[in-house]
């Protein structure tokens, strides 16, 4: 699978209160959560973002609360992927468990600018910046996570194992 999308760039320590403020957590409906995604950072983000767009961020993306509403809101906006220098661990788990693609690749974070278009080869983790002739190798997705992605997330994975 190859993803191509326009980049929205964010800095370090983008916390889950910023991704989806707690005042909106009285629902887990993805469309409703998507409407408020990143609103305390950029109130118009949810209107501007287009399906297939990609977030590129700094260190410790998704730190703070365990709310799975954060990857749900990002996915609900149509974002296809988040590339970051590093991810907070609960966000990392949640993303794979619910099927949001994420990659760790510090080099891309350094090289890319907002508005650039990047292309990601999901299987190999190769990330290219269109028009800049640059490509980088992201951290490979660990084998267990690949298994989760193949099965469609944690729940289909455990249900498959339980049937076995």
């Amino acid at each position: 699978m190859r993803l191509t999308g326009k980049v929205w760039k964010f800095g370090d320590n983008i916390d889950t209160d910023v991704i989806i403020p707690a005042r909106h957590l009285t629902t887990f409906d993805s469309r409703e959560l998507a409407r408020h995604c990143m609103e305390d950072k950029d109130p118009s983000f949810a209107q501007k973002v287009k399906p297939g767009d990609i977030i590129v961020a700094g260190r410790n993306f998704g730190c703070g609360s365990s709310r799975e509403h954060a990857p749900i809101a990002l996915k609900g906006c149509g974002l296809s992927c988040v590339v970051a220098r590093s991810f907070a661990r609960i966000f990392f788990r949640n993303a794979f468990n619910m099927g949001l693609l994420i990659f760790e690749c510090p080099e891309v974070v350094d090289a890319v600018e907002e508005g650039d278009t990047i292309e990601i080869d999901v299987a190999s983790g190769k990330i290219s910046i269109a028009g800049k002739g640059l490509s980088f190798a992201a951290q490979p997705i660990p084998p267990f996570m690949q298994e989760l992605l193949r099965d469609g997330g944690l729940i289909p994975h455990i249900m498959k194992r339980m049937k076995r």
């Binding site: 320590n13 209160d17 910023v18 403020p21 957590l25 410790n60 709310r67 799975e68 949640n94 455990i158």
Partner: protein
């Protein structure tokens, strides 16, 4: 090769003689926890999977604590999802209003988490229980759903960082200050994916309430878990709360740590974390003139009886500054009643404060004390991210209960010594 306390508990849970950092394991859990924000999604997932029973009706805790007493219709609907599920699936540990307290204060108080347990919770502050010598970590709603079905969770064995706290704490320096100082030193991702093991003389002498505060905020340094080896204080805390067997684990002398960090606590002063990261800390002497509009004493971090006692000690016979709103939130009904019997409520009320029922409430900008644009709060809570307590242009400063109470009186951030209060220690 020796193992750390975290590795030993995880090895036991995985049915293995030994585990190593980086190893992916599946462990049996003793308790799985969810609240009114995270559990509705888990319940939806469990129902959609078509399963008709959970792995163990007694090992799941559903605690509606975040937006309770129900702040609006949507919050009420979320809690009803928990209540209906608990009835239908026979979940024993569902806590209705009146029994409900802030989850991470409530579960230890009820003896539902014990030393040596493996606990996961769909709440990032689940790491609190590491204070009991348990392995406890936060997960998301899908993980909780999977755990409710199977009783198991997959984990990568974390590397451990050993923190050694030497020396004796100065007056008005508490567990909160040690952990804020630590986060200030290593940063909000300084312990990313790692176990934070708190050791040393100052930890040996630390009361349980302070140990809970420290383990609670391990997540604020990115840690997978915070843990303190159980001792006599742990035993005294656990005694009488549960009949269930539990086990004290301790790190081997030749255990491997990715890093060892040592602090002399006698040189640490009360800490204040400035907006908008818990790592943005300063000693109280370096705060300067920071006027406040609100002071919040409560949360899973500092809403225990000992915290209220400290606040009351500072507030006794004093008045909150005229423009400041003081909100005190006992974390559980037991703490609430105990504080009332001890006369702490009289002190808070006479000072001009107000007492909220147990709830996470303002800590995450839910209700019971939301900030307007440009307003500033000092709080004993755990996060000061942008918009955490209300408007995106409001500010939260994190501190211990003594500093928070003193600041309420001063009308600006300051320590109890400015008021001439003597420490009880």
């Amino acid at each position: 090769m020796g193992m750390t306390i975290t590795e030993k508990i995880l090895a036991q849970g995985a049915g293995l003689a030994e585990v190593k950092p980086g190893q992916l394991i599946e462990v049996q859990i003793e308790m799985a926890l969810g609240n009114d924000i995270t559990a509705p999604l888990s319940i939806d997932i469990v129902r959609s999977a078509g399963v008709k029973s959970v792995f163990d009706r007694e090992k799941i805790a559903l605690v509606p604590d975040h937006f309770v007493p129900n702040k609006d219709i949507k919050a009420a609907t979320q809690v009803k999802i928990l209540r209906d599920f608990a009835k239908e699936f026979g979940i024993v540990n569902y806590f209705e209003l009146g029994e409900m307290g802030i989850e991470h204060a409530l579960l230890p108080e009820k003896g539902m988490v014990l030393p040596g347990d493996i606990v996961i919770g769909a709440d990032s502050h689940t790491c609190t229980y590491g204070a009991l010598g348990a392995f406890a970590t936060g997960v998301g709603s899908t993980d909780l759903a999977a755990a409710m079905i199977t009783g198991k969770v997959w984990l990568k064995v974390p590397e451990s960082i050993k923190f050694i706290f030497h020396g004796k704490r100065p007056p008005f320096v508490y567990g909160k200050d040690l952990i804020l100082y630590t986060i200030g030193q290593i940063g909000v991702d300084g312990a990313l994916y790692r176990a934070m093991e708190f050791t040393g003389e100052a930890i040996d002498n630390l009361p349980m309430a302070d140990r809970f505060t420290m383990a609670n905020m391990a997540i604020e340094a990115g840690g997978k878990n915070g843990i303190i080896a159980p001792d006599k204080a742990t035993e005294a805390y656990v005694r009488g709360r549960s009949q269930r067997k539990h086990r004290f684990y301790a790190s081997d002398k030749d255990a491997t740590y990715v890093e060892t960090i040592e602090y002399d606590v006698s040189k640490i002063e009360p800490q204040v974390a400035f907006p908008h990261l818990p790592s943005n800390t300063r000693g109280i002497s370096g705060v300067g003139d920071v006027p406040i509009d609100q002071a919040v004493i409560g949360s899973c971090t500092n809403g225990r009886l000992e915290d209220l006692e400290v606040a009351a000690h500072v507030l006794r016979g004093r008045k909150v500054a005229s423009h400041v709103r003081l909100i005190v939130i006992p974390a559980t009904p037991w703490i609430y009643r105990q504080a009332m019997h001890q006369g702490l409520f009289d002190i808070f009320l006479e000072a001009g404060g107000i007492i909220s029922p147990p709830t996470c409430g303002p800590c995450l900008g839910g209700h019971m004390g939301i900030l307007a644009k440009g307003e500033r709060a000092i709080a004993t809570t755990n996060r000061n991210f942008v918009g955490r307590m209300g408007h995106p242009e409001s500010e939260v400063y994190l501190a211990n209960p003594a500093v928070t109470a003193a600041s309420a009186v001063l009308g600006r951030i300051g320590g109890p010594e400015e008021l001439g209060v003597m420490s009880k220690d």
